[in-house]
């Protein structure tokens, strides 16, 4: 998997990838492709994350935010102000109104099984991979922002300005919508998402929710966890414990 891709391999791999993968130029793809022969994306897996707010410190969350920024190249908006700035993952401080207990958590795209953004997108630009990762195809996005209206977590950002110096694996474009990709380009190579890797404890666990031998599956069986806005029945892939 770790070999450098020459042009021929690139074309071969691209043709063999699952639908929804688009290319911008050689070496740059909108969604990272997997080699269909070795690692097909199937619905037998469902990637998920468990965030333990009892263990997650504020420093951890700040680290997660900057890891995401470094990985994907957002957060250095020059012209956008206030709420116009890109925000793929944010730190939230929540207080229980009855007990006054305070929890800190990281909020990003929750990668719903029934994503409202995918339902409302007129052009199929918002899409869910077979393994549950919710992405935006930036070739199809017309920038209507209906997905941002529909998302219950305000997890999406609209690119409000021209961008330069982008990461090769994460092209972003003025006038289109973007959000957490669960670091699909790393996950497809067997790595952890950048935010998960940045935390030095088990406060954030990443893995296959369906795999009964995975750590996330086993932990979720043991501890009490919750989904944000569970009442909406979206069956999110990002779960929280301790709130």
């Amino acid at each position: 998997m770790e070999k450098t891709i020459n042009r021929r391999d690139f074309i071969k791999t691209t043709t063999a990838t699952t639908a929804g993968v688009a290319t911008l130029a050689t070496g740059i793809t909108l969604t990272t492709f997997v080699n269909a022969n070795e690692n097909p994306v199937t619905n037998e897996k469902r990637w998920g994350m468990l965030i333990d707010t009892n263990r997650l410190t504020e420093t951890d969350i700040d680290g997660m935010v900057s890891a995401c920024q470094n990985e994907h190249g957002w957060g250095s908006d020059k012209l956008s102000t206030g709420d116009q700035k890109a925000s793929w993952i944010k730190k939230l401080k929540v207080k229980d109104t009855a007990t006054g207990r305070i929890s800190n958590l990281a909020l990003m795209c929750q990668h719903c099984e029934e994503p409202p953004c995918v339902d409302v997108c007129p052009t199929n630009a918002s899409m869910k991979r077979e393994d549950g990762i919710v992405l935006v195809d930036k070739h199809l996005c017309i920038g209507c922002r209906y997905c941002m209206m529909a998302c219950p977590y305000e997890a999406r950002s609209f690119v409000h300005e021209e961008l330069t110096d982008q990461k090769e694996h994460m092209p972003r474009g003025k006038g289109t919508v973007e959000s957490c990709t669960m670091c699909v380009h790393k996950v497809d190579k067997g790595e952890q998402p950048a935010c998960v890797a940045s935390v030095n404890s088990d406060a954030v666990i990443f893995g296959d929710l369906y795999d009964s031998s995975s750590k996330i599956n086993q932990t979720l069986k043991k501890v009490q966890s919750t989904q944000i806005r569970a009442d909406l029945n979206l069956n999110t892939a990002v779960r929280y414990s301790g709130i």
């Binding site: 929540v94 229980d96 920038g143 003025k174």
Partner: protein, 400 residues
């Protein structure tokens, strides 16, 4: 009814060219604004990741909603067989098409990537209400176009009733679809209400008719054609009924929301302590846009006075824009309930701020200008307007 003769307007007067020049200036300003916003990106607008739909959407949705409402006059004539409205049918179809064109222009030019319109026309996600709306809008152009042809072409007149019924059904579905853009957004406290669909339908009746009345009175006045009270007073009464019906739906919508504890926050925000949104709701939408027009239309002192009818129509249009502003912007400004029973101290949960910028407003006004200029030119090239709408022409039993 005596035979109605339709005739083009001359369109040669100084007034005509002044009107066209004025509207042209607005359209140029709108195009300039679009270039400015698209070239720089949306950071030059008041919109953000929290207020994702701003002033252009207020205008676009107003025009689209009003478009389907403007077709009502033709529907009343052909579907419900009210002969008095028959002479107005052609103009009704034209105003409907023109308003829709203006609204869609604004909607498309506010996209992040308007250059990708072709993608919206070729890639459909049939689960998306937006995608249905694209089909409904395109279909509206076709059906109303055919409807106009049936009305214009004498040998096709006999089909105009069946096509009229199709157009009427289509427009009801279209406005239901527009209302559902909001009604189906489950996560947002201000929306997520099925009543938004019928409320948008009844809003379209009022806004569309108000716009139609202004176009009718202006074109007859400026071309010095007779326009009798029989026609005008009927339209005026109908307008009052529609405005009252919108008020009823607004009341039911808010009372229904108030009953649910989970929505009391957003209701308090809009009705009591939402600052600009509360002011706009009570002073703009309710008083200026509904109660004052109702008084003008029904009070004995002003009833039957055309200037007052014109003023009432202008107020209804302004009130309609304000209503959509409160729904669209106010609804987004209020934060979503992420953690029921908990308070968010940091990171989210504040009221989002929005100040519309000049280019956004100019784009919206440009849409209105496109609608009016289309009407101005088309009545010059095709016989949309009866040469007389005097009372004895419209209704032979009229007693002088």
């Amino acid at each position: 009814m005596s035979i109605i003769r339709y005739e083009q307007t001359q369109g040669k007067s100084l007034g005509f060219y002044a009107l066209v020049a004025g509207l042209g200036a607005f359209i140029l300003a709108a195009l300039g604004s679009v270039y400015f916003m698209e070239h720089n990106g949306h950071h030059v607008t008041g919109m953000s990741n929290r207020i994702v739909w701003g002033m252009p959407h207020v205008f676009a949705l107003f025009l689209i909603v009003a478009a389907s409402g403007a077709l009502n006059i033709a529907s009343i004539a052909s579907v419900f067989n009210k002969k008095v409205y028959k002479p107005l049918s052609r103009l009704s179809g034209l105003v409907a098409l023109a308003l829709l064109a203006g609204g869609l222009m604004v909607l498309v030019l506010d996209l992040g990537r308007p250059d990708r319109l072709i993608v919206a026309m070729t890639e459909y996600n049939f689960n998306s209400i937006f995608a249905w709306n694209i089909i409904l809008y395109n279909g509206f152009f076709v059906i109303v176009g055919v409807y106009l042809w049936m009305m214009f072409e004498r040998r096709m007149n006999k089909y105009s009733r069946s096509v009229g019924i199709a157009a009427f059904t289509w427009r009801l579905i279209l406005t239901t679809g527009t209302g559902s853009i909001f009604g189906f957004l489950v996560a947002r406290q201000a929306y997520d209400a099925v009543i938004m669909a019928p409320m948008f339908v009844i809003m379209s009746f009022a806004f569309g008719l108000a716009f139609f009345i202004l176009v009718l009175m202006a074109s007859y006045k400026w071309t010095a054609r007779p326009l009798g009270d029989a026609t005008v007073n009927r339209l005026s009464n109908l307008l009052g009924v529609f405005v009252a019906a919108v008020l009823y739906f607004v009341a039911v919508y808010h009372l229904g929301n108030l009953y649910l504890a989970e929505n009391s926050g957003v209701e308090n925000f809009i009705l009591l302590d939402g600052g600009i949104y509360t002011k706009l709701f009570w002073y703009g939408q309710i008083i200026l846009g509904s109660l004052v027009p109702l008084a003008l239309l029904y009070s004995p002192a002003t009833k039957g006075n055309r200037t007052m009818l014109g003023l009432a129509s202008v107020l209804i249009i302004l009130g309609g824009l304000i209503q959509l502003y409160v729904i669209i912007i106010g609804g987004q400004a209020y934060p979503m309930e992420l953690f029921p029973g908990k308070e968010i101290l940091e990171g989210y949960g504040t009221i989002a701020s929005y100040t519309p910028t000049l280019p956004e407003i100019m784009l919206g006004l440009g849409g209105v200008a496109v609608a009016i200029i289309a009407i101005t030119y088309l009545v010059k090239f095709l016989p949309f307007l009866p040469e007389s709408l005097a009372d004895d022409v419209v209704d032979p039993h009229h007693k002088k």
